[in-house]
Symmetry: C7
Subunit: 270 residues, 7 copies
């Protein structure tokens, strides 16, 4: 391990290793991911659930424009955490890959194949000079040959498959919660409850329907984003529903909730 | 959070992250936006209102040449704040995108689609080396399928949808004002009053017709810039009309009103 | 606002913002403009007048070779201040744009269109790496649809329209003079007197015919440079004519009058 | 040998030699290899065995997604240690080379030829500027003309042929063990036992079936990855089977087992 | 004006302005011009005279190989001062431009047009990165429409027209001499005497035929270099002829006369 | 000669000279050559002998994979010292050049021509930016028009012809030995003995058959690598044969024999 | 003139001028030339003589491989001093130019034309970034229209014509000798004696036939290198022949005679 002054000498350029074999720019990009609000993915027996913290920084902002959940193809959804504009680039890349696969092979792209297309793309930005790495992590979930699959991409370009995971702020706590609570073979509905429960851990145990996004991907229905009413009903069922007054507080206490003001926080991470 | 000397080490190049995951050049570009005079956007039930502070730095300058409001297509208007020359590049990009859409699909481009085309373009300048980010924020407003839509683009390349927003100087105060005063379902005329009222907050509560620009976008009339007479009449109605003597003062007190002189202020932000 | 040592850290490269959102290289290019001798533009009811300080640094230099006034097209004139070689590039660019317009659309290019073509070209040099900004400002004047128009381009690439303006050295004083003396609706002849009067403010109130260039652009006669005799006559009418002895003094007292000598002043700004 | 301050002067760029003729970036990339979990290769009389430490950092992570063993062609397997995303690039390169060979010459690529294709590719990244070296080492094993062959590639791009070797963490200890225990002429089954025995040296002498990957390449069966059941049975035979409780401990004690948390360890090396 | 330490910060790269708007690399290139031996140009009523200091650094060097005077076309001559190899590039450029003009338009290129072609070429090297400016100044003289014309190009790329001028070492003194002695309407023969007289000012009032080059360009005879005998006769007529012994001294006292030795002076400027 | 702090200023980039006219990167690349184990070349009357120190760093490494001797064409052999991966690039380049020669001219390439092709290739990497020089020296030996020829290439790209030479570690001592012992007109068999004798100088006067490689190139037999048995027999004849126990010691004492361990020595030079 | 610390600031990049107008990298390249052994050129009435110091650094090195004299075409010879690998690039360039001239114009290239082709090529490497200048000087001699011509090229890209000159080490002393001894109109044989005499000045007045190379270019015989026997006979005639014992000393005392050893001298300059 290096002292601080030495570390500084090796973290300015993406294309160099530090003496102990680390790529600091990639590690700093992981910090950008942690600055974003959390997203959670849970694999159920018959589908995949994606849930994301979407609290707005102002009551005038349209919650729908806070992009945390994305449909990549009929059978593939993606949740992101970190630099929003970077996420959009990777989502677009994923969509094009999915389309190309349909055109070239006449069938839906595999979830693993798609994930690895994305991570290979990410890796290029960590090895070749002239660009910075992507400051975003993705949860890629979908149905492949009838089976639910759930993957993670990180700023180094490494693909991992998970039963359940979280990315973004409070990642470590949320994963502890998931490791304790997750059980194999749960239904999509149960997974949906677990995902919201997990997300609520970093919100004092409560969520408002407008402050959260939820999508399920099943073999029957493909990618489906849930309406505010559905979310409210689920939150109520799980005793996670925030009271009116809480919602405003959430927006103020969130780390990157109001970054566009005179404070020096960036507002492009959510 | 970093100390000052450490921050300096990571903000020289656009393509690197700081150890806490921040892109300083993008954050500095946001400061360029704050150095520009304010623009306001308000979404009404039947249209969108854009208003901009256009105070000239000299009585000899043609107010019409202070470019803060732009027609991007028949049904789309854009207001800007920050580096004027950068704004022109993005407006031109937006216009070409709108034309291409008409040619390729035979229909008007969607407001959201257009906004995301712009933000993807902006994002490229924050990741790939050899250029600086755009030092400008835009309000993109228009009619899509009969519905008014109102978006913001920031220097990171993130798109947000708003009911009402402000960009440029005094952004935080003006947003507080909008959050307090805005109500859903207001008419375009009411929105017009609110927009000017908000803009006047950073001008001692008064505006001169020559120092402000106003445009509305409605399904019926598309993008329409209001004449000085119309603006004067509206200002008068809202008790916002500056007296003759005030106008000259405004020009002198404005932060970037006279940047071309021997002072060291830049004059390309308005 | 930054302290001096911090400022130095952000002004070496064109492609980066300072922490307070400024582009120092563009601001330094404005200083190059101020190092050049003054040019003045005045819009009259029926035409535009351009006048420029052309004092030579030696009696052996041909005054005609001091390029401050340029014909861009039959109906468009350009006056410059700052780095002469840079000005030539922009003038050539303007001429090609005017020719292309005639060839493509069969008509004369609009003054506003031409100005914005130029400023867009200038902006590119402030955002993309590998080049410095243009160290020159231009006054673009001409007739568009029978109406006189008068524009300014600055090193940031921002276009402004004026009734009357000055660029180059003593800009602030000359503009004060113009703001005090200019009246709308004056004739081209009156504008010509005002332009020379303004220029004389930075020359002890006197000008010699050889040390000044004057051009008018009217709908009837297009771009016309005035002969020395005409200029002498106008100067005499306005009591601005320098005595023989004064002329030589002017050449010595001028800031950039003799930069090619062993002094360390550059001689390429006028 | 250089003092520390001098060393620092030569290790920032890949394209320069230090005064004593070393390429520090390549040496640092070797450190990245050592940060990854171990892989072992053993050549038997009739085949090659590859074994890899695949301990997951969370019970929710799918062990199958920890990529340490790869099929490059029917008759070629590759085990990796170090930066996972870099390994994927080299594996893809190897697969394309194998396919090209089949298409161009109508026969399977030779193991030595393939290895040298890979190392030449690696070398380019150590000599030409604008990129960093690959932070990964590979074990390439396969059948060539009926004979088992076993090669190593390192970050400098040097190919070596081995009878048995290990790469990644604890390399030095594991090689000592192999040198002591390996005997020429052993069968593939014996080699399989030796490989797991070696791997267990850095795991307190025990392995869990989920935490290890095993592949054999023989002339008859080509590349074959062993199932968890087979691995469990072999581990049991060799008295290497970890008890249930041990498995969880392993995951915690592993150096790079939980790098995604709030600690500052990277999680992309395995 | 900047202090010394600050100046140093802005003069390393050609593509940046200093805070007071200067391009230091261009100014340093002017110093390279001053390091070269002097050249003089004088415009007469019926022709142009070019004269250059060509003292050799050794008696074994062929005077003819000291390139100070160049024929660019039948009717155009060029004298240079500064970096010899750079001068050759610009002369070649000028010759190609002259040939292209003949081929394209069937007529001789204008002196002003040719000069501006050269200065535009020079300007490119002062704005775009990756190259240094040309370290040479040129005197371009010739006949255009029967009229003699005389121009100067400097390292900034600015064209000037003169009646008489000098470039290179002692420029300031020689120009003072020319300003005092030059009279309009002199004949080419008189101009020839003045040119040599001026050149002799920086040589103790004496010149040797081998140490000076003279060319005239007239409408009748075009570009003509004078033979040593002619030069000797003219020098004799003007009482400028050096005695034998003086010539050797000249070679030793010349600033750049013997730069190839163990001294640290460069020998490529003349 | 420079002081140490000054030297450091000039040795960072390959493309610049130091004030005393040296290219430090090329000199550092020569150090990389010295870090490699020795190779020896001896020219006999009827052939050329190449011998190389090939001691392995582990008993499990296949000696055949330690690449020190290469067949470039039927009649050309190459021995290398220094960076192995760089050597492979140059050998491949040499092979392609030999093939091209056969295809284009229908005959075997000349040894001198081939060597100069290689050195020209090497020189490019020392003058043009963006790459480091090759860290390897080669001995190129072969038969040209029936005559044996023996050349050296070094990192500067200079070709030398020798009667006998050594490259790599202990170069100076081995050359002294060769200069003392070599006699013109010796047979290939005698040369073979001398080559091994020389190599043994840096190994306590002993060699093991596995730790050395030998090749001869003669007009009759072309390039031929000798088998271990032949080498053992020759070593025995010359009383150079190491005892069993010595061999293991050699491997440990060799400078770069075990560089892959936790020591900080690089293992890519041999 | 600059102090030492200031000089250091301007000599790192080839593309910038120092404040006093110097190109330090070009001057440092001249130092590389001085580090090479001397070459001499003498122009006679009927031919040109080239002579070069070729002392080998080892008795085993083939003197013929020390490249100081080169045939560029039938009628053109080149002698070099400085960086050998750089010289090879320029010689190859010269040969291609000579061939192109024959193909394109059907005649032998002129000596002056060829020299200027070379110097223009050299100049490019001093102005455009990304490469260093050539560290070599050339003497180009030959017959043009029956007349002997003798030129020099230096690292700045300046061509000079000489009656007699020397390049490389001891240049200043050898030129003094030539200036004192050279007489116009001498025969080629006399010139040959003078060339060797001059070369012997830096060798204690003695030369060995193996340590020197001599070539003559005459109209009748073109380029001819002299055999060792001829050289020995000439040396004997001029009383310059070294005794046997001296020859070995020469090799040791030569500055760059043994640079491949553990000393820090480079061996690629001769």
């Amino acid at each position: 391990m290096q002292g601080q002054s030495q570390q500084q000498a090796y973290d300015r350029g993406i294309t160099i290793f530090s003496p102990d074999g680390r790529l600091y720019q990639v590690e700093y990009a992981r910090e950008a991911v942690k600055r974003g609000t959390a997203s959670v993915g849970v694999r159920a027996e018959d589908g995949v659930v994606l849930a994301a913290d979407k609290r707005a920084r102002s009551r005038l902002m349209e919650p729908a424009s806070i992009e945390k959940l994305h449909k990549a193809d009929d059978h593939v959804g993606v949740a992101s955490a970190g630099h929003v504009a970077d996420a959009r680039q990777l989502i677009d890349f994923a969509r094009r890959q999915a389309q190309v696969n349909r055109l070239r092979y006449g069938e839906a792209v595999g979830i693993e194949t798609l994930t690895k297309n994305i991570t290979d793309h990410i890796q290029q930005y960590t090895q070749v000079g002239g660009a910075r790495p992507f400051g975003v992590a993705l949860i890629v979930g979908g149905i492949e040959n009838g089976e639910p699959r759930l993957f993670e991409t990180d700023p180094s370009g490494t693909p991992y498959e998970w039963q359940a995971l979280s990315i973004g702020s409070d990642r470590s706590d949320l994963r502890d919660y998931l490791e304790a609570e997750y059980e194999e073979g749960i239904s999509t509905d149960e997974a949906l409850g677990l995902a919201l429960d997990t997300l609520a851990q970093s919100n004092d145990g409560e969520l408002s329907p407008e402050g959260v996004g939820v999508a399920t991907i099943t073999a029957e229905e493909g990618y489906t984003e849930r309406s505010n009413d559905e979310i409210e009903s689920i939150l109520d069922d799980h005793d996670l529903l925030a009271t009116e007054g809480d919602e405003g507080d959430d927006a103020d206490t969130g780390e990157d909730a109001d970054a566009g003001d005179d404070t020096d926080e960036s507002d492009d991470e959510s």
